[in-house]
Amino acid sequence: MANFAKKAAVLSTLCMGLGQWYNRQFVKGALFLTAEIVFVYLLITSFIDNLIGLITLGDKGATLEKVGRKFVNVPGDNSIDMLLDGLASVLVILVIIFIYVMNVRDAYRTGKAREAGEKPLSFTQSWKKMNTYSFPYMMLTIPFIGVLIFTIFPILFTVLIAFTNYSAPNYIPPKGLVDWVGFETFIDLFALKQWSYTFFTLLTWTAIWAVSATVTTYFGGILVALLIQQKGIKLKRFWRTLFILPYAIPQFISLLIFRNLLNDEFGAINGMLRQIGLEGVKWLNDPIMAKFSIIFVNMWVGIPVSMLLVIGLLGNIPKDLYEAADVDGATNGQKFRSITMPYILFATAPVLIINFVGNINNFNVIYLLTNGDPKSGDLQYAGTTDLLVTWLYKLTLDNQQYSFASAIAVLMFIFIAIMAIIMFRNTPSFKEEDMVQ
């Protein structure tokens, strides 16, 4: 018996498509061969340059050159474009390697089938087979490409930027060149006094904020839900619909409205306080008060969602638990403590973690309500109510401190990933999800 499988695999390793050709699958072989030609062409014309660019990040800066009588600005290498192209090339090369492996495996398998005496599939047959067995992969191709380009690629790029000196005023292309600096940005973030002071101040506030925002909206939601659902309250639907209102109104609008309401000179809240003879409060202009205001406004915005969630869960608690408790003569308080609360806590544990992470990244509430203000001279490009994420945003958009912004983003990625892993580990619904089988 001829050794089709090995020969086909070796041929396909030498050049994509040869093994298929050897297996007499000519159309498939031609397709793979075309792909190989395109890849080699790309490799020679651009990938090699791009990879070198990724390592050097350019060495020719912008210069003034004398052309005739005038000096003309000649643009040099654009380090950031080189970084983009280089990283894109690496990803494309990975995809090519994957296709290459698939090609060798396909040749080997067809060869094996021939050894077993089967006829190799014709192109239409292979196409049909692929349609059946590879359907899930085909369905996921477009979503995958989207996520690859606009989520994964940007994350990798951000990680790379964190190891460069890409920042104003000197290292901004096309005027200046950007270089690899290793861990320097991270070291600066912790060692340079202004940066490290800002980082740790904002980190502390971010932590306090995330905990209090999560806890207040969570328990606020439970309380409101229980308030509506308790026996003896009429018009439950009406109250529920009314209290969903803050969730239904676009968040950015409510937050901007609150900013106006809490304005300490002309805002309506202080107006009312003054009318009844009280002093106005510096809701948003005092570093401490502003933090409380933010948490309060966030409760207004966030409680409706957890209320809805809890109302949904209350209906799911098995009634016989309560009946059993009644038989044992339990009081309302006991029933609440031993049945309702444990049930809700257990069911909402993953939501709690998601909300916590969401609050660490809660950009809108801070940026639209206080914009990070009131300002402080001690903080580098930040105000006293800025979170790490709003700081990152300002560093990027207003101050062109891209390397620092990226370093902060990397630290946050790591933290969020750890939180996510904790969640995977402890969510039974995620582990035991295989219900449809």
Binding site: L84, F135, P136, Y137, M139, L140, I142, P143, F144, V147, F150, T151, P154, I155, F157, T158, V224, L227, I228, I233, T241, L242, F243, I244, A248, P250, Q251, F252, I253, S254, L256, F258, N260, N263, F266, G267, G271, W300, L308, L309, G312, L313, V351, I354, N361, Y367, L368, V389, L392, Y393, L397, A409, M412, F413, I416, M419, A420, M423, F424, S429
Partner: protein
Amino acid sequence: MKKNISLRIILSYLLLVLIAIAVIYPSFWVIMTSFREGTSLYSESIIPKNMTLDHYREIFANDDVSPVLTWYGNTLKVATLSMLFGTIIQLFTAYTISRFRFKGRRVVMSSILLLSMFPGFLSLVAIYAMFQRFDLLGTHAALIIVYSAGAALGMFVAKGYFDTMPRGLEEAARIDGASHMTVFLKIFLPLSKPMLIYIALTTFTGAFVDFVLAKAILRNDREVWTLAVGLYDMVFSSKDAKYTLFAAGAVLAAIPVTLLFLALQRFLVEGITAGSSKG
């Protein structure tokens, strides 16, 4: 005992009324302010003495400084197109991951869960550089692409919905010789109408209300701004903040989204509770 309970109920009603006032007050204030004369924030009473429709007229006049009507159009355009692409992408992803057992499925699911926890604006530097490279900064196309591409990551609620459908559905059809695509289009799509509405609503409002990326990508060209960016500018621009015009704009912007939410709240409640049990 009886008296005790009624006291509890009275207190509860009192609390409910207080919460109701807190819930309604901001909306009431913004509506009243939109009818008030002048441009200032200060007012002696919440209900203006002289009501006026001037600010709404100003919005429909659509001047160059604050072209609210243009922003409205931009926002609707971006949100509608993002909804269209985003819904298709999210539906495909959720359906595939829910109804098929393929190699790497677990990895795909864990990756989606992990990636969905990273907010897009953390890698803003990269998105910025990419769009600059392709000269798409300041365009609606850039926004639509970003919103649609991210839609796959929000698939867990829809996946949970598909999980609850019985297995026999596709098997019967497959035996009859229907292709996977036919099974999806002819059997599952008609059954997933509530889920479709939920996805469409969340992707539409997601794009409608997004501020972070819209501000970063659309930058300083007022003509291409969306409502979120424009209204933010009206409140924060220090030289001539037009509070009453902002109020009118905010009312007009909030109405469609709020009504949509309230009309479809049944689906949202289902979505939220389903999402919680599915992680």
